[in-house]
Symmetry: C2
Subunit: 268 residues, 2 copies
């Protein structure tokens, strides 16, 4: 999806959760995870014993421009090293563990992390290697498990997909985008008077054309027309367009157009 | 993330939204989108003029086993053909359009689609080509635009990532996983009596060891200990483990262990 606008101010959450990739195998997957992080404003990448070493050339193209996150990545030998400055760590895994430990949805985890970060605490999300996932010894010191509710018969999520879901929920937990809005752009919604003008115009022409000739059914037909046309919440420009449409239909385009059309027809 | 359990029943939403990929370029991206669909129970894949034709061998490995979705994919020449049986279609895009059209968050869109599907209607989600995104003429006939709130300075989402976010929200909108729970596995939470036994044991040994010798501070110290130990919500097994730990610390392991250790020390 296109849409990056470098003139817009970045929304970065530098105190947001660290994304800790344990034993990641492919540089490409690290790059994709980083792209997802940066989409949602996260910048603290920590790599625990990446299989192919670090830096890894395959990460850069997949990060699609989120180079600043890759450049600031920190590499650790063990998970314990990677989490030592963090107050709360959550382990992402789909696999049931032989452990009595709270399991959170990504949404709940995001809400909990937001509160912790707002209180000045440092938090992190732990992700395991592509195939095997996290080991029990990596999960044990974590506060809780985060597990994505999904189709249990096909529950294997790609590493970058797991990162995107958690980063997405983190961002949404603090985002104030209205769940629905209609941008007006350069337009102005039509006023009641303008809409009424449209209705009067349309109904006048329809009376003329015999469409509303049944007096008994007329009030219902008019009400239905007004209802369906109101639902679209036309702008002033759109009301002008529609009045042009009605005029064209009612007059066949007017005598000049008819003459022009007839002339074209002769040429053809 | 590992975790697929083929013994679990699949959760499939055969009436869930059709995923319509317009002009997708890489088979690998189609495969990844399909993997994400199937993770969240979606099965209706529609391809509009895929750049490299169809079937595309590169899709299968990336789908990671969601072959049934790929095999049932339908191919169309135009977007209009692909949506002709659908009642509601939503266009996913990050780009502002020169159109007065409602913009929904993925979460809101998922809620709206759930309601429509519950009412027997057919719905679809439209995704554009990897680089360019949807054209205005594809967006125009849609009910609304779906846009993911994200870092506006880095808003380019990978095609498969966009599919995973929408499919995820669709699934969550009807999912009843509790936002937080602690599986008890084969264990039983400790009873109040068992916890009290643990406290009594610990406090008795601490009295013995002089840790609680300040009578004035003792009630606070005891209360703090009980509070911190209650917070972990121990199981019966864990209470037994902890009582073993207290015993070992208090006795140094007991006379037999001391003898054994001394013997080892001599050997070493």
């Amino acid at each position: 999806m296109a849409g990056t606008d470098s003139t817009q101010n970045a929304i970065l959450h530098e105190n947001g959760p660290a994304i800790i990739l344990v034993g990641a195998q492919l540089g490409e997957n690290i790059g994709k995870a980083v792209r997802a992080m940066y989409n949602f404003g996260l910048t603290d990448l920590r790599l625990v014993a990446p299989r192919d070493g670090w830096p890894n050339d395959a990460a850069w193209p997949a990060a699609a421009g989120a180079d600043v996150v890759l450049e600031n990545a920190r590499v650790y030998a063990t998970t314990a090293d990677a989490i030592q400055d963090l107050h709360h760590v959550y382990a992402t895994t789909a696999r049931m563990r032989d452990m009595v430990k709270p399991i959170l949805t990504p949404r709940k985890c995001a809400a909990v992390m937001r509160e912790q970060v707002d209180n000045g605490l440092k938090v992190g999300l732990l992700f395991g290697p592509e195939k095997a996932g996290l080991k029990n010894e990596d999960v044990a010191p974590c506060d809780a498990i985060v597990s994505v509710p999904l189709n249990p018969a096909f529950a294997s999520i790609n590493l970058a997909q797991a990162v995107v879901l958690l980063a997405y929920e983190w961002f949404q937990a603090g985002d104030e985008t209205p769940e629905e809005y209609t941008p007006t752009l350069e337009t102005t919604p039509a006023t009641g008077e303008e809409l009424q003008g449209l209705f009067d115009h349309l109904e006048g022409e329809l009376l003329e054309a015999g469409y509303l000739r049944h007096e008994k059914r007329r009030p219902t037909m008019v009400r239905n027309l007004r209802n369906m046309l109101s639902r679209a919440r036309f702008t002033q420009e759109e009301v002008r367009t529609l009045r042009g449409v009605i005029r064209a239909l009612a007059t066949g385009g007017g005598p000049e157009w008819q003459k022009e059309k007839a002339a074209k027809g002769k040429k053809g």
